[in-house]
Structures are given as structure tokens and as C-alpha cells.
């Protein structure tokens, strides 16, 4: 059963995207009303508005993404107060980066650490514009941070994916380190693997492409193409290695499309992470290419385009949403994907543009959806 926990009228126009923070109970939204909003995921406090980010983008804000903690969720810096920050991308072809100043608290360090989440999610923090990133020729469709917060990927109707490097502690400068021109059309979505520097982009050209950094230089290259969808691929997400069903030797990705299908793809190609210890000299250069296979097509449920998908790192369940206002939850049982539950008319007769799994301040997992009706709906299972 999928039950509505709360419904927030966040925007006066389409809500395009929703993102959750990796460790703090925060979500951010993006809307055609040119604003983004940040809410605290606290049922006890009735999901208060934390900040409204406005007067920056000239056109629709299409996408939003919270920066993960410096070093990643698995290896956060010890005793480091990681300030929340997010990036948003707009049809005005720019990306804006927002963050808060270090809270001015009269507490000793231990106390700050003990109440960190409380302090960092307080509406008294002022959210400031920290950077505006320009480079894309036209509408930005998606932005996403890598797991350790030092790389930001963006994609656009200009058919390119850009990778920006930054210092995740200061977020002062964003240097473009790669422009990937592999797609033939508009790119709808870009997403990082939650545990490694592997990137995927979904496109109007009906394919998903996978990118990695070259073994012998600093460039990035397309290392895999996922062919199979018969319509625009709107969104894709990698499986987290912490999923109960995840296998160490296998990378999996789910993609959703205009062709009304959700597909699981997998690759068992050896992942050569290029950090210092595993560095391979160019003299024994090995191929970086990944072989991908279509592992499954999820049981059909949607009647119109599927716009968004999310893969829970906690339960391994997949949730899809789309134009038909339907939420579908899938569960993998002994290697077979089954529909666990569905919710009809989740945003009335409006289209649903975005879905995520998120965690409330009480630790429970919820589904959050964003619709054309401007609502952000929060669901329990």
C-alpha cells in the first residue's frame, strides 16, 4: 500500500524535480515558477519550508541536486561540519549553486556536532547564491553531484554533458574538465553512480550512455551505450552497492522511457577505479570499455510516458512515475521483478515529473513526488 503522508503546494506552476540530501532530512524542489524551495522532512514539524531560492533564474528551474557530504556518505570527513549545498539547472542555460554560511552558534564544538542536523536544517540559516555556472548553449535538463561532491555533471538540449570540478569544501570555482558530445539529440538526464565515478546520461536519441575517466589521461570518455528503448529515455539511476540485492561484481542501472518501459541493464566488466593505489601505467593500457546487457524489462504498468525512476539503497525497491499520474513500486524477488504496489491518481489528473526515495528525521523511508500541479507529495509504504 502507498499512502499519502502529506501534500505540499510548493509552487504556482509545474514542479519539475525533487532532490533529497544524503544525510540531512532536507528536500529541494525545482519549478517552472523560476524558484526552488527547500523543506525539512519532519512530520513532527509539519514539513516546514526552510528556504525559497528565487530571483536568480530567468526561466523554469528544471533540475535540482543536493551535494553529498565531502568525501561521500561512506567516508565523511571526521569532525568536519559539512554545510548543505545544492545546484539547480534552468531552461535559461545556467546552473546556480546555493549554500549556507557556518551557523553562528554559541555552543562548544561537541554540542554543535551533537545537534548538527538540527542546526543545519533550521530555517534561520540563510541560503546564499554561491556561484553561477555558464557554458551550455541552451536549456539545462539535469544536474547531479558525484558521490564525493567534487564533480558536478550537467546536460542540455545542446546534446552535451559537461563535467565540472570544484573544491567541495568551498564550492568557489567550477572548472569544466570535460565536454562529452556522444549523444545525437537533447539529453534529458544525467546521473552519477552512488559509490563510484561512473556517469550515465539519458537522451531523446533513445539511448543511455555510460562515461568513465580514461585510464591514461584526465579526459572522460563514453565507455558504453545502452540500446533498446524505442522512445526518449527520460531518466536512469544506478543501483547502490548497499542494496540488499546488489552483487559486488555487477553494476546495474534502471532506465525509463517514453516507450512505457522500465529496463534493468547490467555490466560485469571489471571496474578499474582510478585512484592512486590502482593506477595503471599507460604502457600496459587496458581497455576501459564496459559491456552492458539488458537484464530485464519491468512488468508493464504505465499507460503514458515514464518520466522518473528511483532505486532505494535501503530496500532495493524501484519506484517509477509518469504522465499517467501513477506511482508503481517494484520489488526483486529471487531475481524476478514484480509489481509490489501502485497508487493511481497520485497527483490527481496531473503528470508526475520526478520521484525520489528519502528519509524523514525520524529515520523512516518515504517516497517524494513532484507534479505538474505544483505539489510535492510525500508517501509512506
Amino acid at each position: 500500500m502507498v499512502n499519502l503522508l502529506t501534500s505540499i503546494k510548493a509552487h504556482t506552476d509545474k514542479a519539475w524535480s525533487v532532490s533529497s540530501h544524503a544525510t540531512l532530512p532536507l528536500i529541494a524542489t525545482a519549478s517552472s515558477d523560476k524558484t526552488s524551495k527547500i523543506y525539512k522532512l519532519s512530520a513532527k514539524h509539519k514539513f516546514p519550508l526552510i528556504a525559497k531560492l528565487e530571483d536568480t533564474h530567468q526561466r523554469s528551474v528544471r533540475t535540482v541536486s543536493f551535494k553529498p557530504p565531502v568525501g561521500g556518505v561512506d567516508n565523511p570527513l571526521a569532525n568536519y561540519l559539512d554545510l548543505p549545498a545544492l545546484a539547480s539547472g534552468s531552461f535559461d542555460s545556467t546552473i546556480s549553486v546555493w549554500g549556507i554560511d557556518e551557523p553562528d552558534q554559541d555552543l562548544d564544538e561537541d554540542e554543535i556536532l551533537a545537534h548538527q542536523a538540527e542546526i543545519l536544517t533550521s530555517p534561520s540559516n540563510e541560503w546564499n547564491l554561491m556561484a553561477i555556472i555558464e557554458g551550455h548553449e541552451n536549456e539545462i535538463k539535469a544536474v547531479d553531484w558525484n558521490y564525493s561532491g567534487n564533480l558536478l555533471a550537467s546536460c542540455s538540449r545542446d546534446k552535451t554533458v559537461w563535467i565540472w570540478e570544484t573544491d567541495p569544501e568551498t564550492l568557489e570555482e567550477f572548472e569544466c574538465i570535460s565536454v562529452l558530445n556522444d549523444h545525437q539529440h537533447d539529453i534529458k538526464d544525467v546521473t552519477w553512480h552512488p559509490n563510484q565515478n561512473l556517469l550515465a546520461s539519458s537522451s531523446y536519441d533513445d539511448t543511455v550512455r555510460i562515461y568513465k575517466q580514461d585510464l591514461d589521461d584526465d579526459d572522460w570518455s563514453c565507455v558504453g551505450i545502452l540500446n533498446g528503448h524505442e522512445g526518449t529515455v527520460w531518466c536512469s539511476r544506478f543501483e547502490n552497492k548497499h542494496n540488499p540485492q546488489a552483487i559486488d561484481s555487477k553494476v546495474r542501472l534502471v532506465s525509463v522511457s517514453d516507450d512505457l518501459t522500465a529496463r534493468i541493464w547490467s555490466s560485469t566488466s571489471e571496474i578499474t577505479e582510478r585512484d592512486g593505489s590502482e593506477y595503471i601505467p599507460s604502457s600496459i593500457k587496458q581497455t576501459n570499455e564496459m559491456v552492458w546487457e539488458q537484464e530485464a524489462i519491468l512488468p508493464t504498468a504505465h499507460k503514458y510516458a515514464i518520466y522518473s525512476v528511483a532505486w532505494s539503497s535501503r530496500t532495493g525497491k524501484i519506484v517509477t512515475v509518469g504522465s499517467d499520474s501513477l506511482i508503481v513500486i517494484y520489488k526483486e524477488i529471487d531475481g524476478v521483478w514484480k509489481i509490489e504496489s501502485t497508487k493511481q491518481a497520485a497527483h490527481g489528473v496531473s503528470e508526475i515529473n520526478s520521484v525520489i526515495w528519502a528519509t524523514l528525521d525520524d529515520g523512516s523511508e518515504v517516497i517524494v513526488t513532484a507534479g505538474d500541479d505544483g505539489y510535492i507529495n510525500i508517501w509512506t509504504q
Binding site: 523554469s60 531552461f91 541552451n138 537533447d186 531523446y204 504522465s323 489528473v349 505538474d372
Partner: protein, 217 residues
């Protein structure tokens, strides 16, 4: 744009078009028709027609897609109708009447006069209740198979319907089979909600579309 893409299109007489819109009184109608015939004759006799300069509508003060007054009245009408339960479902004729008077981007004629939109090419699947999603499928016939304005015409139709119809309608606009050389390409673009949303924030395109919709009744 120096020459129109199709300089000599076939034109359907306005009086022979199907409509449910209130007709004018008989006497003035015949006069109106006569005047209209003369006008059409005059237009057809000209080899080059005055037209909207698609590429030059830059930085002009762009009016709304449909004037505010018209839009709000349409919305109110729909709401009233729904409240009173007078008209439960929207039918093909109603959709035709909404889009038939849209102007062609290059001729001073409507899409119905050019037979780009036809009543028989509109089909509606109404759901049993208003809380469910209904579907409208419109097939448009470009005047010539390489008409580069087919996308713009489709966009105009979509904008008109999205502004006038309740949110429960999913609108699908397709090029009629075999009438355009890049049918699939145009179809894909016209039915991509994100591309349409972004196009509607482009001042230049919006200017052209608002001109196309300025003749709507």
C-alpha cells in the same frame, strides 16, 4: 524568408467548415460571406502574400499567448459548464472549433481553411469520470510534404488546447501518415512535454504563436 514555402495552397471556403459556434444572423452572414469570398479571391490572386517574418520577431514586447481576457473567459466558461453539468465531456467539434481559427504562420488563412486541421482527424477518448485521464488525438495535414512550419503549427495547436482544456486531457498531435517527409521527427518533438514547455519560454517563438492564435474565436 523571401518566398512562402507553399505559395499556392488549396483553400476551403469558411462557410463550408463544420462549426458549433454561434452563426451570425442570416442577412449579415451572407454579406459577410460575400465579402469574405472577395477577400479570398484577392488573396489567392496575389502570388506573394504578406506574412509573418518568423526569424525577425526579436525583443518585441510579446503579448500573452492568448489575451488575458480571452483566456480567463474561456477558463470560466469551462468551469461554469462543469459546475452546471451542462457539458460533461468535450467532443471533437468543440476541439475543432478551438483550433480551426488558428492562423497559418505563412498565409493569412486559418488552419481549417487550409485543411491542415479537419474534424474527421480529431478523435477523443473520454474517461468515465473527470478524475481520470482522457485523451485527444489530432492528426494534422501539412499543406506540402516538406513544410518546415509543420512543427510550429503543431505547437500552436498544442498551446491553444493546453490553455483552453482541463488538465485531465492528454493531447497527442501527429502528422497524418504519409503527408510529411520527416513525420517521425516532427511527431516526437510535438509530443515531448519538456521541449514544448521550453519552446513556450522562447520569446521569439512565443511571438509567432501569439500571432497565430490572435485570430482565435
Amino acid at each position: 524568408m523571401s518566398d512562402p514555402i507553399n505559395a499556392n495552397p488549396t483553400i476551403v471556403d469558411v462557410s463550408s467548415l463544420p462549426t458549433r459556434l454561434t452563426q451570425q444572423p442570416q442577412s449579415s452572414e451572407s454579406k459577410y460571406n460575400q465579402r469574405h469570398h472577395e477577400l479570398v479571391d484577392k488573396i489567392v490572386s496575389l502570388s506573394l502574400l504578406p506574412k509573418i517574418r518568423v526569424g525577425n520577431v526579436v525583443d518585441e514586447q510579446v503579448p500573452g499567448l492568448v489575451s488575458d481576457v480571452e483566456m480567463s473567459s474561456t477558463d470560466e466558461e469551462l468551469e461554469e459548464e462543469e459546475e452546471e453539468g451542462v457539458s460533461d465531456d468535450i467532443d471533437e467539434q468543440e476541439v475543432f472549433d478551438l483550433i480551426s481559427s488558428i492562423s497559418d504562420p505563412e498565409h493569412p488563412l486559418t488552419l481549417a481553411q487550409l485543411a491542415v486541421v479537419n474534424l474527421v482527424d480529431i478523435s477523443i477518448t473520454n474517461a468515465p469520470t473527470k478524475s481520470q485521464i482522457s485523451e485527444i488525438l489530432i492528426r494534422i495535414t501539412p499543406t506540402i510534404t516538406h513544410c518546415s512550419l509543420a512543427t510550429l503549427i503543431g505547437l500552436g495547436i498544442r498551446v491553444r488546447l493546453e490553455r483552453c482544456l482541463p488538465a485531465r486531457y492528454r493531447i497527442k498531435i501527429l502528422i497524418k501518415e504519409g503527408t510529411h517527409q520527416s513525420e517521425n521527427q516532427v511527431n516526437k518533438q510535438l509530443n515531448d512535454k519538456e521541449r514544448v514547455a521550453a519552446a513556450c519560454e522562447n520569446d521569439q517563438l512565443l511571438g509567432v504563436i501569439s500571432q497565430m492564435l490572435s485570430t482565435c474565436k
